[in-house]
């Protein structure tokens, strides 16, 4: 399956290579670099590139290309999904997945890659098993290791691999037993010029951080499970139980994991929490354009809209923008033509606005396209779909865990066309 893996940074250097079968020369990446040059944007490099003898399947994350070399037929998603899993694992281990982090921990990275694939076929991808095999580096451990010469590799053998609950370590112990669940919903929307909603949908996830001793068996039920239209589960969730009772029943992995992601059924009308008044015009003949943007809250159920960030890709003809924000700060990058405005919190009494002029290339005709505006925001303590967790029960262990649940709504791909 996966023959080799090359890690390529933004400047086109291969800074790590790993081979699971016989060695493939790194010159195979030349085909990738060619494709990279052809693509105007980094994300436009085709994920699958055929070469005379191999196929290159790549993913781009954190400005690093993970290029897998394939020799024969394999489902491309299989490789892509695996590569993303590798990135997730690195992130889990090192906190960030940057070139520097990988270079600093190159031995751990190599050990991980060795365990994750055997002969190109995934072997252990579950983070809990990997952590049993290879301890994640911490500052303290790194120091101790350098002094005492002890190791990152787990001393005991990884029994987790043999378990039927491969996602959970055995013998977990905590003094404070806690289980936290974050219900995070994202609104994907396209709002058209006139302010009407073209499409809007809510996608949500439940991220959990469970630190419980032993082998707890949890059930989580919702007040209104009917809202959930389409769901995908962490493998620990018992599907049958969900089908029958709409209850999430599971033995949780240890630590952080994504329990559930869901899609709220499209019959429910989506409340759009913000509105945008915009007036972006370019006049024919003049080298000036007007930019006028006002944000306001709408259908937020009394909750404050926070961390608002507006960004817009202005037309290429715009040389500079001279704007005046009523609150927050804005930046305009004259190279990428990216305007971003960090608004902060929306005060319903005094709506934030950004007004001013844009200067255009002298003599150029007015750009005929209008920029679309992307908005990010957060609303705490509210799930916009109205989803509510009813209760969380634990079986199988005797202690009383501390349980917490948090709701949040965020903008996903929230776009306003002008």
């Amino acid at each position: 399956m996966i023959h080799s893996l090359f890690l390529v940074n933004a400047s086109g250097d291969i800074f790590l290579e790993k081979h699971w079968k016989s060695v493939v020369s790194r010159s195979v990446c030349d085909y990738f670099f060619e494709a990279q040059e052809r693509a105007t944007e980094p994300e436009n490099v085709p994920p699958v590139i055929p070469t005379p003898h191999h196929y290159l399947i790549s993913v781009l994350r954190h400005r690093i290309y993970f290029v897998a070399v394939i020799q024969s037929e394999v489902p491309p998603l299989f490789v892509i999904e695996f590569l993303h899993r590798v990135v997730d694992t690195f992130q889990d281990y090192f906190g960030v997945c940057t070139e520097a982090a990988i270079k600093d921990n190159v031995v751990v990275v190599y050990e991980l890659l060795e365990e994750m694939l055997d002969n190109g076929f995934p072997l252990a991808t579950e983070s809990n098993i990997l952590k049993e095999l290879i301890k994640p580096p911490t500052i303290l451990r790194t120091m101790v290791n350098t002094i005492t010469g002890s190791t990152n590799v787990g001393e005991q053998l990884p029994t987790g691999q043999l378990s039927v609950v491969p996602w959970r370590r055995t013998g977990v112990k905590y003094t404070n037993n806690e289980a936290y669940f974050d219900v995070v919903e994202e609104i994907d929307a396209i709002i058209d010029k006139s302010g009407s909603t073209i499409t809007a949908e809510i996608q949500g996830v439940i991220d959990a951080c469970v630190k419980l001793t032993g082998m707890p068996d949890l059930t989580l039920s919702f007040m209104n499970p009917r809202l959930l239209d389409d769901v995908s589960f962490h493998p620990c969730v018992r599907f049958k139980r969900w089908e029958a009772e709409r209850i999430l029943s599971f033995i949780p992995p240890d630590g952080n994991f994504r329990l559930l992601s869901y899609h709220v059924s499209s019959q429910n009308l989506v409340a759009i929490p913000v509105y945008v008044k915009h007036n972006i015009t370019f006049r024919e003949g003049s080298s000036q354009g007007r930019f006028d943007l006002t944000l306001g809250p709408k259908q937020t159920m009394g909750k404050a809209v926070e961390s608002v960030l507006v960004s817009s890709q202005l037309p290429r003809g715009v040389l500079n923008a001279n704007l005046n924000p009523s609150q927050g700060t804005y930046t305009f990058d004259p190279v990428t033509k990216m305007l971003s405005w960090d608004v902060g919190k929306i005060n319903p009494q005094k709506l934030p606005s950004l007004k001013g002029t844009m200067s255009l290339q002298a003599g150029a005709s007015k750009p005929d396209e209008n920029p679309s505006i992307n908005i990010q925001f957060k609303i705490q303590q509210m799930a916009i779909s109205g989803l509510k967790v009813n209760r969380l029960d634990m079986y199988g262990e005797k202690y009383k865990p501390f349980k917490g649940i948090k709701y949040m709504t965020k903008a996903g791909k929230f776009q306003v066309r002008t």
């Binding site: 699958v48 037929e73 590799v153 990884p158 029958a244 009772e245 033995i251 079986y395």
Partner: protein
């Protein structure tokens, strides 16, 4: 220093041993020896590293190995360190060892001889008592790509394939493709190993071995037959990567083994060149429909048979469906392609939602999913139509995603949604991303060709775009307009005029060329403008691009032919210019055209036809999706994505004309199926009993039961659970597991032998029937066991209900046992709890092997049913006839003998639970039917209305008398009804839907063989006479040892009558004749009955002998029934 030198010597020796001994290497070594102690210098030289590796300190070794690994990672050559590294292969420090392995695997291929030094270490590792060490040794050994050790690898793989640890077996499966790629000669031997591992019953191995199968021998589809059902059932518990591989393989398998579920439809499609359904507008489609009706060839229609889906085909679809909910995009895609290629058209729709969900994922995932969706939308547009808006494009999407979404939107366009789609397209045209705008214009063109109604709108829109400032946009529009105009040029001369004007402004060569071609082609529509355009072009000829020049010549030629008066001179001029052009193509063209159109003396022949040549009607181009016909590649595959066959791609075979023999998938019941059931259950519980299989917990643990269950579990510790579970199965340690496994195998062996004997017995005569029945028998336990493992969709409820009742393996057995325990306590029989449970468990496990579970129904709900029923007449009779000694009529047919089966569990039934039992009363409306007593309980909070049955699916000959509709079943209430089923003396299940006013549940009733008969009264003499006529093939005799608790007359009678609806033949005759004689020590018990449908006699004799030995004889015309009955009674008596 001296230490270092001695090490050095060792090294040299080793080198010589390995035969490597190249001088360069040694030179390095000497250097290293000389410059000892200088390893602080940065960066470390190889010799310093060697020295560190030679040191005694693990920390130094580790440091050196880390640096070496970092070198490998950067792609630096570290091969000359091989001798120094390989020495450390036996190092005690785990991390050093691991890093040495990493190094070895990387460089062994280059340094084959030296690598051999490490082999003995691994061979030792292969014998280690710890399974993880064995596995890791095999893993590294098989990763070393050294041809010389192929025999060693082969041996190691073979050994590991029969290792007791599933993890080692998994590693063996991984090693197979490694060895195969190293030495393809080994294929045959490896196939043997694969075959063996395919039969493995653990989820751990399944994915890996199928992977090996796909790499080594994907063509040996016959190896899958026996494992097909097992793989389907295990699928949900296999790790996600294995699931992908298995699903892809099963897709191919199903294509070779089952019939096309859309067979009728595809016949029709072929009848009228099917693809029009997409490209034609819907009007056309309607026409097509009619056409189809007419056209469909008569033989094709005649060939059409009612399609019945193979149950195995259904099994696959059912067991893969829940995986659509996987978090792993590859699994979801695999299921989606399986459904696309295998499911009946009506069911494919379920995958749409899951695929749309994947669009939220990373852009690479989106890219692949959209490619597949694009292909699917061509064949099955309706599926994605509800999700149209999910394909709307955002300005932030990468261009390649935008283009793919556009493709999907175009494919989805029809006249109902075209207006919305076009409105969307209008916004896209304003995008800054010009490549995307160009793609949008082409998409508009395609919509216009496909949907007649909007052709004019689109054309107008495109014409407006001609005044766009962006040249690319205009150019693309011109090209598309050209294509559209070709369809109906006569209507659009004004557009042509408009375009003619554009020649002044547009500079993009392709667009100019298109306009010129248009004017030339339709010059008769614009007779005044055309010459003028030519005039302008002639002026600028020398400055034009090549393709434009060619079109100018073209235009000139066409005008010359139609309007030579005005354009003769211009044409001459243009041709003269072309004659001296730099490009030889243009010179050639000019010469060629001149010869054709300007008649000279020499070349008159062709010029006659010039008009025909130039002014022929050209067919309109077909604008079609690049994704058309891509579905001949298996979706989700690399080949599909690239639209080219990738190496190693396995063609998706066409459906077979006739289904191959489905019986190849049958598995010996006792041989494998129950074994893996047990085995996997053991796997599952091995660790801790709270660990439950992935997804598939059984329903039993739900609701209040669960909480009670698990609480008590935790209170009493795990001892009770494991105690009950571990009766004869492995504990945590592998060794003991192994021991029990072998025991079991022995048992199984015996049972298998028995079974074989029996089979031999019946086969010669009624081959077909017996086969069918054995298949039935075999399937049933398998289904039962599956329940725990797989979660099946609601359609599978039929089986669930069965398994619910008799099925015991999984968690609910605990709760069940709990209930029983309480019950027993109430009956004031206080045995020690664990023992009690263990017994139960044992019984249950045994019963799993067979059709029926003879344990009296434990559930407390039994009581209401039984009060409702009266004991049958026959049991009364029996009581009378046996008035004398041991038996009292009250106990002879205890009411609890009526076993309750579950038809619908309250969870699957969403609050409605249904139980049924065979009431053993004659069914009054039809004497040939078996009466089935159903009891409905509404556990939901709302009322259930209009409870009735629908859609009865029966084997031929079977009939059903439906129970009267229950109008209203209030919440919490219970109702009863009786239905009759004529099973035709077979144990085929009756499948039907149980409908309420809102829901439908698929359920099935499958009778144990003992319920297919009704008791008759015979005297002993009559019995003997009848028996005398049913000898030979109609008699089946089996020896048995009676269960310790079942040696008295009462118990025997009770057990037999429970197992089968028979009446006892009064056998006291000899006693009656001579009362003084004490009852014989070894009485013979006789039972008689007739089958319900065909009234064939069923005679059962149990002759007891010394010490619980006994002989069971069954005489029955229907041998099939006889065989099954023997088994059931045998089980009842030996338990």
């Amino acid at each position: 220093m001296s230490c270092a030198t001695s090490d050095l010597e060792v090294q040299e020796e080793e080198e010589e041993e390995g035969g490597g001994g190249d001088h360069e290497e040694r030179a390095h070594l000497e250097e290293g020896g000389g410059g000892g102690g200088s390893f602080q210098t940065q960066p470390l030289r190889h010799d310093d590293l060697k020295e560190m590796l030679d040191s005694n300190k693990d920390s130094l070794k580790l440091e050196a190995m880390k640096r070496i690994v970092a070198m490998i990672a950067r792609g630096k050559n570290a091969s000359d360190l091989f001798p120094a590294v390989v020495k450390n292969v036996a190092c005690k420090n785990i991390e050093v060892k691991k890093l040495v392995y990493v190094y070895l695997v990387r460089y062994a291929e280059e340094q084959q001889d030296l690598a051999l030094l490490s082999i003995s270490t691994f061979q030792r590792g292969l014998k280690d008592p710890n399974q993880l060490i064995r596995a890791s040794a095999l893993r590294v050994l098989s990763s070393i790509r050294v041809t010389i050790i192929v025999p060693i690898m082969m041996l190691a793989i073979k050994e590991a394939a029969s290792d007791m640890s599933p993890y080692v077996r998994k590693t063996a499966a991984h090693a197979i493709p490694k060895l195969y790629s190293l030495d393809p000669e080994q294929k045959d031997q490896l196939i043997e190993v694969i075959e063996k591992l395919l039969a493995d019953k653990t989820t751990l191995v399944a994915g890996s071995v199928v992977m090996a199968f796909e790499e080594v021998c994907p063509e040996r589809i016959d190896l899958i037959h026996k494992n097909y059902r097992k793989l389907c059932n295990l699928l949900i518990d296999v790790e996600e990567w294995g699931q992908v591989v298995i699903i892809n393989m099963l897709t191919r398998y199903a294509r070779t083994q089952f019939l096309n579920p859309n067979i009728n439809e595809s016949l029709l499609e072929e009848g009228s060149g099917g693809d029009k359904t997409f490209y034609g507008s819907d009007e056309d489609e309607d026409e097509d429909e009619e056409e189809k009706e007419k056209n469909a060839e008569a033989p094709a229609m005649a060939k059409r048979k009612p399609y019945v889906m193979d149950p195995d085909h259904r099994l696959l679809l059912r067991n893969t469906k829940p995986l659509l909910q996987s978090r792993n995009a590859a699994v979801v895609m695999a299921v989606a392609q399986l459904y696309f290629h295998l499911a009946p058209k009506a069911e494919v729709g379920v995958i749409a939602k899951a695929l749309v969900r994947l669009l939220r994922s990373h852009s690479e995932v989106q890219y692949v999913v959209l490619q597949n969706v694009a292909t699917m939308t061509i064949k099955r547009r309706g599926m994605f139509e509800p999700y149209l808006k999910s394909f709307y494009i955002r300005s932030t999407d990468p261009t390649q995603i935008k283009v793919l979404k556009l493709e999907v939107l175009t494919n989805l366009a029809n006249e109902t949604n075209i207006s919305t789609i076009l409105r969307e397209f209008q916004t896209y045209i304003k995008s800054m991303d010009k490549d995307f705008v160009a793609a949008t214009i082409q998409a508009i063109g395609r919509c216009a060709t496909n949907i007649g109604e909007v052709r004019d709108t689109c054309l107008n829109g495109l014409v407006q775009l001609l005044s766009n400032r962006d040249e690319l946009v205009v150019a693309e529009s011109v090209v598309v307009i050209k294509k559209l105009l070709q369809m109906q040029p006569e209507k659009h001369s004004d557009i042509i005029k408009h375009m003619a004007k554009l020649t002044d402004n547009i500079q993009v060569p392709m667009a100019r060329a298109s306009i010129l071609w248009l004017i030339g082609e339709y010059c008769e529509h614009v007779p005044k403008i055309a010459p003028d355009v030519l005039r302008k072009m002639a002026k600028s000829f020398t400055n034009e691009e090549d393709i434009v020049k060619l079109q100018i010549i073209n235009l000139a030629a066409k005008l010359y032919l139609t309007n030579s008066k005005q354009t003769k001179l211009l044409t001459q001029y243009v041709l003269n210019l072309a004659k001296y052009d730099q490009n030889y193509d243009i010179r050639d063209r000019a010469r060629f055209i001149r010869q054709l159109i300007v008649p000279t003396e020499k070349s008159g022949a062709l010029s006659k036809y010039a008009k025909k040549l130039f002014l022929a009607l050209k067919p309109a181009p077909v604008l079609e999706s690049p994704f058309k016909d891509r579905d001949h590649f298996q979706l989700g595959s690399l080949s599909h994505l690239l639209n080219a066959k990738a190496g190693g791609y396995q063609e998706l075979p066409d459906w077979p004309e006739a289904a191959p023999d489905p019986s190849v998938r049958n598995v010996e019941v006792k041989d494998s199926v129950p074994e893996w059931t047990k085995c996997s259950s053991r796997e599952k519980r091995k660790e801790k009993k709270v660990e439950k299989p992935f997804y598939s917990d059984s329903e039993g643990e739900s609701g209040p039961t669960e909480s009670a269950d698990s609480e008590s579990d935790s209170a009493s510790g795990s001892e009770s659970g494991s105690g009950s579970e571990e009766s004869g199965s492995g504990s945590e340690s592998v060794e003991s597991e192994e021991g029990s496994e072998s025991e079991e195998e022995e048992e199984d062996e015996e049972e298998k032998n028995k079974k074989k004997k029996k089979k031999e017995l019946k086969k010669p005569v009624q081959e077909s029937e017996s086969e069918q029945s054995s298949e039935e028998e075999e399937r049933k336990p398998e289904r039962k066991s599956k329940q725990r493992k797989s979660d099946s969709e609601s359609e599978s409820d039929e089986e669930e209900s069965e398994s619910e009742s008799s099925q015991s393996e999984s968690e609910d057995s605990e709760s069940e046992a709990e209930i029983k325990k309480k019950k027993k306590a109430a009956e004031s029989k206080p045995p020690t709890k664990p023992v009690k449970k263990e017994n139960k468990k044992e019984k249950k496990e045994m019963s799993l092997l067979d059709l029926d579970d003879f344990e009296p129904a434990p559930s407390p709900q039994v009581t209401p049913v039984n009060t409702f029923l009266s004991n049958s007449l026959v049991t009364d009779l029996e009581g009378l006839s046996l008035s004398d000694t041991v038996l009292s009529p009250a106990t002879i047919a205890p009411s609890s003998a009526l076993k309750n089966y579950e038809l619908l569990h309250r969870i699957t039934g969403e609050g409605l639970s249904v139980e049924y039992c065979f009431s053993r009363q004659p069914f009054s409306p039809d004497a040939n039917m078996v009466a089935v007593q159903m009891q409905f309980t509404n556990n939901a909070t709302s009322d259930t209305k209009n409870l009735h049955m629908e859609d009865v699916k029966l084997q031929s000959g079977m009939r059903v008398k439906e129970f009267p509709e229950i109008e209203l079943l209030p919440a919490g209430e219970t109702a009863a009804a009786v239905m009759g089923i004529d099973f035709c003396d077979s144990t085929q299940a009756a499948n039907f839907q149980l409908c309420t006013h809102t829901k439908k549940f698929f359920v099935s009733i499958q009778p144990p063989v003992g319920e297919l008969m009704r008791p008759i009264f015979l005297t002993e003499n009559e019995f003997k006479k009848e028996q005398g006529q049913l000898m030979g093939m109609n008699e089946i005799t089996e020896k048995l040892t009676l269960d310790a608790k079942c040696r008295n007359e009462h118990a025997i009678v009770q057990r037999v009558t429970t197992a089968a609806n028979l009446s006892r033949v009064p056998c006291g005759s000899d006693k009656e004749c001579s009362p003084p004689v004490p009852p014989p020590d070894h009485p013979i018990h006789r039972f008689a009955g007739r089958t319900v449908t065909s009234s064939s006699l069923v005679l059962v004799t149990v002759a007891t002998k010394e010490e619980g030995a006994a002989q069971l004889t069954v005489n029955c015309e229907k041998m099939l029934i006889g065989t099954m009955l023997v088994k059931d009674i045998l089980l009842a008596l030996t338990q």
